[in-house]
């Protein structure tokens, strides 16, 4: 059986595992949809009132029965109805996903456009002052939480220049591209900042390894121009760890970037999951987790396939 087919077969198993985990975990946490809605006022309910609400939220039946009926729905493409939104969970997720995908792609671009050249530059200037400067910058980037970067950007722009991207009402890319980019560029920079630092560090160390390889020395001794040695001979071979890192990071980003979405008030998947958990919107939490798990697996598969393209020596699925 081909590698791809075998990998695709694991998808349902992983998703089933993720669904069981989240189904049980969200119900094990103290507090339920009733206390989430009413807070301490839930204490004023009579047993009959509580039973009526439990039936409304669908939490009156044993957990196994609840899981089974949810799973049957999933097989029919029904992830359940969100009680907060009053809409099917899948509809809401698909409404939010384009933003999350765009944010992930844009911050990835920021990270790679900044991180890769910086890493290569530092590697070619190994142990010189400029290398040190890049490393210090990367260290700062990696150790600064992105909400701090976000808040600093917002403060600097609003207090210093009196400008701020429009918040609260998100404009999709295809509705008004300019307005959309105005809203997305700062969150992308905020999110891409720390990631750029990781890319810088990993591409620097990978480049250092490659630059000391025999074939690079041979190329140099043959008189290949320095620029060509670095960009054509060395870099492609140094990309494998960068692709691995980017793949993992991209997978995470597709699950939503909670803090950055909160700060810039972007209605992405991260905020959706957070609100669903806080308000104990079970159908929405389960739907989101399933969707995120699926994305993560797809990205991982694509990363594996990218290895083959980057390094023809790699044969997926073969023991030797």
């Amino acid at each position: 059986m081909s590698y791809l087919a075998r990998r695709l077969l694991t998808f349902p198993l992983v998703m089933l595992g993720a669904s069981i985990l989240v189904f049980v975990a969200i119900r094990l946490v103290p507090g339920d949809a009733i206390t989430a809605m009413l807070g301490t006022e839930a204490g004023l309910l009579t047993p009959a009132q509580r039973a009526a609400l439990a039936a409304y939220f669908g939490i009156d039946k044993p957990i196994l029965v609840q899981y089974w009926s949810w799973l049957l729905g999933v097989f029919q493409g029904d992830l359940g109805i969100s009680v907060i939104h009053g809409k099917p969970a899948l509809t809401i997720i698909l409404e939010r996903f384009p933003l999350t995908l765009q944010l992930a792609l844009m911050s990835m671009c920021v990270a790679l456009l900044v991180g890769l050249p910086a890493g290569v530059f530092a590697a070619t200037r190994n142990e010189k002052m400029s290398d040190l400067a890049v490393r210090v910058f990367a260290m700062i980037g990696q150790s600064t939480p992105n909400f701090v970067v976000g808040l600093l950007i917002i403060y600097a722009l609003s207090a210093g220049f009196g400008i701020l991207p429009t918040m609260g009402e998100f404009t999709p890319l295809f509705t008004d591209p300019l307005r959309n980019l105005g809203q997305m560029i700062l969150p992308s920079i905020t999110l891409g900042f720390a990631f750029a630092a990781s890319v810088t560090r990993i591409s620097r160390s990978a480049m250092l390894d490659v630059l000391s390889d025999d074939y690079v020395r041979t190329a140099r001794s043959k008189g290949v121009p320095k620029r060509s040695v670095i960009w054509r001979h060395a870099l492609p071979n140094a990309l494998i760890p960068v692709v691995t890192l980017s793949g993992v990071e991209f997978g995470y980003l597709l699950g939503g970037a909670v803090l950055v979405e909160q700060i810039y008030a972007l209605p992405g998947l991260g905020r959706l999951v957070l609100e669903a958990i806080l308000q104990r919107d079970y159908a929405l939490v389960q739907g989101c987790v399933l969707f995120i798990a699926f994305n993560f697996m797809v990205v991982n598969l694509l990363v594996d396939l990218a290895y083959v393209t980057l390094d023809p020596r790699i044969r997926l699925g073969e023991s030797n």
Binding site: V29, P30, G31, D32, T35, A36, M37, L38, G39, T40, E41, A42, G43, L44, L45, T46, A48, Q49, R50, A52, L53, Y56, I84, H85, G86, L151, I154, Y155, L157, S158, A159, G162, I163, L164, P165, T166, M167, G168, E169, F170, L178, R179, L181, G182, Q183, I185, L186, Q262, I263, Y264, A265, P267, R271, L272, E275, L278, Q279, R280
Partner: protein, 506 residues
Amino acid sequence: MGRHLSTKLLSGLALAVAVGATAIASPAFAASLKMAWKQDATGLDPHKQTAFSSIRLLELIYEPLVRFDKDLQIVPAVAASWEFAPDAKQLTFKLNPNAKFQDGKAVTAADVKASFERVLDEKTAAAARANYLSIASIETPDDKTVVFKLSQPDVPLLAAMASINAAIVPAAEITAGTIGTKALGSGPFKLDKWEPNSKETLSTNKDWAGGKVAIDGIDISVLPDETAILAALRTKQVDFALINDPLVATLVPKEASLVLNRTPVLAYHVLQMNPSRKPMDNLAVRQAISCAIDRKDVLDTASVGEGKVTGPLTMPGYTSDASALFCYKQDIAKAKKLMADAGFANGFSATVIAANGEPATAAAEAQVLQSQLAEIGVKLNIKMMELNVYVDAWLKGDFDMAVALNGGRADPYPMYNRYWTKTGNLQKVANYIDDTLDSLMQKGRVETDPAKRKVIFADFEKHLVEVSPWVWLYTSYSYTAQQKNVQGFVPTPEGSLFGLSKVTLQ
């Protein structure tokens, strides 16, 4: 080098243009008020929603029979006038003849009857039902008159009716089962669009019986970070905003173009002890803890002084001089003596629970209390919890001590009946039964003379502080911030946004 510099300049310019373009694209002053808040409503059923954020939205759309004004006096809403029978066992309302729902239909006595029957029906699961249990029957002699017959005298009932949890909804919508999915009230604004946790669009109800509304509507954005709300105010993206965090609120007056409204609220910050657990079952231990706490210090440290030290009664008309209450001046020597008398000269350990970010000052309050109680040998372990987990533990009474922000009411009876009467719904949370408190509460419930009620509840407060099941700390402020061109907003101690119906944009 030259190329690098121009690339940088170009990219910088592109960023500035992109960000600037969106900023310019939204004009600062439109006929609709642009508003921001951190927390969105969680539902649209006025009878079921108890979250502060939901109430704030729903009171713009729905109306109860009566409402509170800024001095917590009861004023007309759907009802034009009302009268208690001398024995306080019958309450009659005359409805405003002009009151209409947003679909143009008149508000009738039948709607009022159907609304209260819905609240009282256990299947509705209205948490506020507990406040209206004295209603035995509802009569509607004509279209504009409603008579509530009560099973027992219940003076605080009128104040309890001034709540959006007793909103008048159309009887037809109850029958159709659309309450909660469709918002149709008689209030100053109509809900045109709601995207949960993102935004609401409200337009003005031209038929509102309460008068003309000067703005065209309200566009509400949910901005989950209050620093971002401040930035949006600063850049005039937002005309009006709700602010919860006192630290952010104190930054507003530093902006020349903004105005901060600061209003004392009824909700109180409190250290709840659990008198069913040892050693908090010991009166002397509880009193020692009360004496060891410097309430002003808690307020200053945890809430940057934004508030006022309070006793249990936080409502205007009932508040007393807090400094005259038992041990409201920190007295460590007395506290140590009380601990020694109780057999705890070496102190004890206890766990205090608090909710993350609810209120924003919870963790800081717990830390200040921890350091203050350490002085008398009480070792407090702080356990921070996610709000829903905290609520679960709180409702079960599963804590030694709890830092809490509890809601206030305009009348002492509905505010404390739940905790300090023998049949109170939250008696299990308070875990403290006291005959004196119970009997004073019952007296306050039936007494119709305001002056006599005041004396009864003053005695109640004095006794409650002395027996110290809880240590009342302070009341804080509710904050709204607005651009200077927004005028006419009147805040209330309930934190109501109903005042937006009187706002003008200059």
